[in-house]
């Protein structure tokens, strides 16, 4: 687009335009949208998303901050190399790059993930009410993990042998932030099948954040989780494959072959890992992959919206097992032509009856 503009020339503030898009007449909407299109401080795609938004949001009340201002993140990335958590504030919202790759990747990844939820789902941060995004990097000593502790994200530098820096993968950052979203929405209990759904939802939105950032369609994407974490020499492509669970790696140092099942027939009963939440997530992960590729195009546009609607469905129990979550996705898919059948077939393809 070659439209030139002067910063600050827009007389009507974006939040007023946004309100008009939401509540105005058809003529007023057209005018507001065309005005927004000229205002690069506001994303056109977001206004379009408002028009396309499905009516499945849990409540009709706008998030507190969204009514007053265009959605914007409030990020703080901390450097925890001193040993304490959260650590020393290293980059606050609006500050420039620090030169510390971990700090800057976390900052950018949080921004991508925030933008994903805000643009596609009109969601203002983790809690839907503008919650600050807090992340610590350089956590622990050669810590080979990333986690959500209930309030913030934590990323380690890796052990240096198998795992590198956990901020290296955008889908991992999206995965961790999504654990926060789940905590405020479906609150899926982190044990057994509901725990595997909690994990799967994080993998789904983690890879969607990455696919959207790269502009990859469902057909173009690799559907891998954590590909950038594995150091050279490790026998594997990634930690998980949503397309072909069980094929991501085969390395003795990782305990052998990727143990993820791709079908209910191979569901793993174990006491470890909260009942195998990172293992059995392979089943709903593949269901999402099958649905997204059957629907085609960009996975975040329809399949992503369907899964988000299920995650935010007020009727979904926190102890939901696979069939209950599957039913919620099929219900949500009814809003999109042809999607319900694709979603139903996807779950049936992994042995979950809906």
């Amino acid at each position: 687009m070659t439209v030139s503009f002067r910063p600050g020339c827009s007389v009507v503030p974006p939040y007023v335009l946004e309100a008009i898009v939401r509540h105005g007449t058809a003529q007023q909407r057209d005018w507001a949208l065309s005005t927004l299109a000229l205002d690069t401080s506001f994303r056109m795609t977001r206004a379009q998303a408002l028009l396309l938004a499905t009516p499945t949001r849990s409540v009709g009340v706008l998030p507190a901050r969204a009514a007053a201002a265009a959605l914007a993140p409030r990020r703080t990335v901390y450097d925890a190399s001193g040993g304490e958590l959260p650590g020393r504030p290293a980059r606050a919202e609006g500050a420039g790059p620090t030169g510390d790759g971990s700090v800057d990747r976390a900052y950018d990844g949080l921004g991508e993930t925030y933008d994903f939820y805000a643009t596609l789902f009109d969601r203002d941060s983790i809690d839907g009410r503008g919650m600050a995004l807090l992340a610590s990097v350089h956590v622990g000593d050669h810590w080979d993990n990333a986690q959500w502790d209930g309030e913030q994200m934590q990323f380690g530098d890796g052990d240096g042998e198998i795992f590198g820096d956990f901020t290296a993968a955008l889908d991992v950052i999206g995965h961790e932030l999504t654990h926060g979203v789940t905590q405020y929405e479906a609150q899926l209990v982190y044990q057994g099948q509901s725990g595997a759904l909690n994990e799967s939802v994080s993998d789904v939105f983690g890879v969607l954040v990455k696919q959207r950032a790269l502009g990859q369609s469902a057909e173009e994407a690799d559907w891998l989780v954590g590909a950038e974490l594995l150091l050279p020499g490790v026998q594997g492509m990634a930690l998980r494959s949503m397309a072909q669970p069980g094929t991501a790696y085969d390395d003795e140092r990782l305990g052998g072959r990727d143990p993820q099942p791709a079908h209910m027939d191979d569901y793993v009963q174990t006491l470890s890992d909260n009942g195998g939440v990172h293992v059995n997530s392979g089943i709903p992960n593949r269901a999402f992959y099958l649905a997204a590729t059957a629907i085609g195009g960009n996975a975040w546009e329809v399949a992503g919206r369907v899964w988000y609607a299920a995650l935010t469905d007020p009727g979904l129990s926190s102890t939901a097992r696979f069939p209950v979550f599957a039913q919620a996705t099929v219900r949500a898919a009814a809003a999109y032509e042809g999607a319900a059948e694709a979603v139903r077939a996807a779950w049936q393809g992994v042995g979950v009856a809906v």
Binding site: D141, H142, D144, N145, A146, Q147, W148, D149, G150, D159, F163, F166, V172, H175, E176, H179, T182, Q183, Y190, N198, E199, S202, G226, L239, L254, G255, T270, L271, S272, D273, N274, G276, V277, H278, V279
Partner: protein, 125 residues
Amino acid sequence: MTEHPGSGGPAAGPGVRVVVRRTGGFAGVARVWTLAEADLGPEEAGRLRALADEAASAQVLPGDRAPGRTADGFEIEVVLERGGARETVRAAEHDAPVPVRALLDLARASGTRGDPFDAGGARPG
């Protein structure tokens, strides 16, 4: 949990032996290391003995742990073999007693990979 000699694996040589098993985490990969006094230098062996004693007295009681809201956290299981007796301590990494965390650090730095108690991976979870 305490097991007495004869109920478990083969009798080890003299000294303290500790198996550290770490599960969960973002990767969901189980890692196991063994620390045997006989395999360590005098300084680390002394540290192992002290940490094993501290970890045993800092035992986390079952049901003592809050469910928590941590996702992708590690779980640590430490099997302490001292004087012919065997005890197991389990904790989430983020709220593990200090000596349990220290044993994990020592195991990652100086332990041998693998679990001598684990016969062909038959042990559940």
